[in-house]
């Protein structure tokens, strides 16, 4: 699968790269060589400097010092426009598409084919787009508005946009986070065909199995410096993890004590919430972690949102603790003891500009209020309890949340909802964008919560996560619950088979 490095000149050569942001040394004297026609993976925890490095290579930002050469050309003062002209294409982790414009126009943004009068050649553009998009996903119409596509399809458009350049170096930043296994396979095929054409790929990922499946070389970053750069054929997953975190870390794949028969906290019968949820039935007991697995678009998040009251429930029955849940909005659900940690913590759950205490008590101000006034000392009491019990790493309770790492932000978000004393906690993607070390801590925290008798409903696209956490796995497909597997008996293959073929 992986091949040894061809002894050719590197297409990209970086020496002594330094980049500082206010208060943070993002990159400290970093060296990197990327060879022609190879796939070079970059791994490292959040904050290791991967994205900063990619942004410098793609000309989004410039380094403070250091030498960058691309094909012998100095690119230390690159701009995005020049990067495109040189053949450096980057697929950003965040969306860089305009939802109201067509697929074709997004792919050729600012580079639409034009007539001598400057007007756009719409048909040529649609045809060219079709030929690129077809490599990735056959059913995307170049004339469709991007807003009408699913998130995974939008990501494919994003990748198509990078491919539309006359590429010599493709930079992919966590490309598979939003993709299903099939789409991932197709993307890998495209990357391999680029490699065959002599085009190099820089591949940032959290998923180490992808490194072994796709990459020729791997470079590990920690705290802005390279801690290892090697041929993939010569290294092991354990070694990568050790270099990433600086210590050996056993990734606990299974820790599923058999659920004791307990009080049923949630029972959902034939719930329908158009357009995404057709028919969902499931139950969650006290002390149990139930994971919802399924492909993108299967309606997992939408089911949770319907339970929480964010989405309308069209029909079906939701029983919480023996009484029907009839509320029509989230505040009714919170009153009944339901809490939901949403998928996108920055957009839908945290106040990044406020301090730790304010965030922890944000959903339970009642508990920190004395005679209608929010009491600082009461709030701090609540917050410090969670900071110590969840091992949230923060210098003090006044720390602005935006300065904490992703994993610690996620813990604060959990604390915020736990402070509402829920009976049922819904967690959507508990570790998205969280590094390996913090992941394990969040798993431990979720397990501990279940141990205290809380009922947990967890949605995750990451199957290793599902297998590591779940007492029971509920599989959804096209808006329906199509199966249920006991957590300790489940295999990845079994879940995938149910999710993909019903």
């Amino acid at each position: 699968m992986t091949t040894a490095a061809p002894a050719s000149e590197p297409v990209l050569r970086i020496r002594g790269l330094v980049k500082k942001f206010p208060g943070v040394q993002a990159l400290r004297s970093l060296d990197l060589d990327v060879y022609r026609g190879t796939v070079h993976a970059i791994v490292g925890e959040n904050g290791a400097g991967k994205s900063t490095l990619m942004n410098i290579i793609a000309g989004v930002t410039n380094a403070d010092s250091g030498a960058l050469e691309f094909d012998g050309i100095d690119i230390s003062t690159l701009t995005e426009q020049k990067a495109g002209a040189l053949g450096i294409g980057m697929v950003h982790q965040e969306r860089s598409l305009v939802p109201e414009l067509s697929v074709a126009e997004n792919v050729f943004a600012g580079r639409q084919p034009i007539t001598p009068l400057g007007t756009v050649r719409w048909r040529t553009m649609a045809r060219d787009t079709r030929s690129i998009v077809d490599l990735l996903a056959r059913d995307i119409d170049p004339k469709a508005r991007v807003a009408s596509l699913s998130p995974a399809e939008q990501h494919m458009v994003e990748i198509a946009k990078a491919l539309s350049f006359d590429l010599r170096l493709l930079i992919l930043d966590e490309p598979t986070a939003a993709l299903t296994p099939t789409e991932t396979e197709r993307l890998f095929a495209v990357v391999r065909s680029l490699r065959a054409k002599g085009i190099s790929t820089l591949y940032i990922t959290h998923r180490l199995n992808e490194v072994f499946e796709l990459a020729d070389h791997v470079t590990v970053l920690r705290d802005g410096a390279v801690t290892g750069s090697m041929n993939v054929a010569d290294c092991t997953e354990d070694e990568l993890i050790r270099r990433m975190v600086g210590r050996a870390l056993t990734f606990e794949r299974r820790n599923v004590p058999a659920a004791k028969p307990a009080r049923e906290v949630l029972r959902v019968t034939q719930l329908r919430s158009e357009p995404r949820v057709k028919s969902a039935s499931l139950s969650v007991h006290a002390g149990e972690i139930v994971c919802i697995a399924g492909l993108i678009g299967a309606g997992r998040t939408e089911l949770c949102e319907a339970l929480f009251g964010v989405r309308r429930r069209d029909s079906g029955e939701v029983i919480l603790d023996g009484a029907p849940l009839t509320g029509r909005n989230p505040s009714d659900s919170v009153r009944r003891g339901v809490a939901m940690v949403p998928e996108d913590r920055k957009e839908a759950g945290l106040f990044l500009g406020m301090d730790v205490t304010s965030n922890v008590v944000a959903a339970s101000l009642g508990s920190a209020t004395r005679m209608g006034v929010v009491a600082r000392n009461l709030s701090d009491e609540v917050a410090s309890r969670y900071v110590s019990s969840m091992r949230i790493r923060t210098p003090n309770l006044r720390q602005i949340l935006g300065n904490l790492s992703g994993g610690n932000q996620q813990k604060v978000l959990l604390a915020k909802w736990l402070a509402t004393k829920p009976k049922l906690l819904i967690v959507d993607e508990p570790t998205r964008g969280v590094d390996v070390g913090a992941r394990e801590e969040i798993y431990a925290e979720l397990r501990a919560l279940a141990g205290q008798g809380l009922a947990l409903l967890v949605v995750s696209l990451d199957l290793t996560e599902v297998l590591a956490l779940a007492h029971r796995i509920v599989v959804m497909r096209e808006g329906r619950v199509v199966g249920e597997i006991a957590g300790d008996a489940a295999t990845e293959e079994e879940v995938v088979r149910l999710a993909a073929t019903g």
Partner: protein, 363 residues
Amino acid sequence: MQPRDDIESSVNPDTDAAGAPVMTPSEALGPVANDAAPWTPYRVARRVVATVVRSRPLLLVVLTFVLVIYMSSRFPTQFSTWSNTKAVLLDSSVGAILVIGMMILMIGGTFDLSIGGILVFTSIITGTMIANHGWPVPLAILLGLAGGAGCGLVNGILVTRIKINALIATLAMAGVYTGIAQLVDSSGVTPISDQFSKMGNALILGLQSPVWIAGVLIAVMAVAVSQTRFFRQYYFVGGSERAARLSGIPATRLIVLAFTMMGVLAALAGIVNSSRLNAATVSAGGGLELATITAAVLGGASLAGGEGTVIGGVLGVVFISLVNNSLIILGVDVFWQQIVIGLVLIFAVSFDRLRQTRLGSSG
């Protein structure tokens, strides 16, 4: 599970797994073009209604049409005459010149509240140079246009480089420009000159010159904004400035340029207006920003940016002129004009909100 899915999955499980069971907004709303189902009158009607409701400019055409038919049938001798049509077109021409610039700004995600100030400032400079300093008309006009470009450039730099919110920056500069105009000539310039006045009152093929100037500009800019790569960059900047920058589109430079174009167009509108009246007055700029933004929003622009067309904005201007004209013919108190236009704007925008919530958050 539906039978169709079974067939697909048995034929090709790959496609099935990838083909996410996602319902697009258009499917949720009603029939789509490639639907295999037969066309019935009901389906056609639903589709037509859905299309009209979805497109604000189209809704505007329907409203304009309804207004014209109503007024023509009730006041055939006053409303549906050539002279009244000419009056409406003339009334629209200054607004149309302004709305082109505003539309480009709004597509790019920003706006300019100082257009009234720029218009007054430049027309008074032009007027005073001709009337009081004996400048030749073309030179004075060039000075006015250059002044407009300068004002626009200042606005653009304040908004993009110094990063002052467009609302604050252009509101403040509106006061500055108007104030300078009053310093130059507090009472306004009237009359300016016969030669200058002739330009704005010339008849060509039965229509006044401002209508022609606006017409040519509209024709050129409508094509340019919708079809040329250069102007389509504004849809990216307004749709998502981050996406634009990541696509290598020079957002800052484009926005500065759009403010500069707005300044030139405001100056042109002011010169056309003062030439028609043979007078440059401070009061000429009152309420122009509200009327122009209203027309642009009616014509499909949104304050969030990334949407709108020149034709839509022009239709908005014509609609507002027609409403004003109809109110005059109906003999309604002139103050009703503001009320009606304000309500129309609120109606159009709330209709939009309603439409978006109906379509759901996936759109």
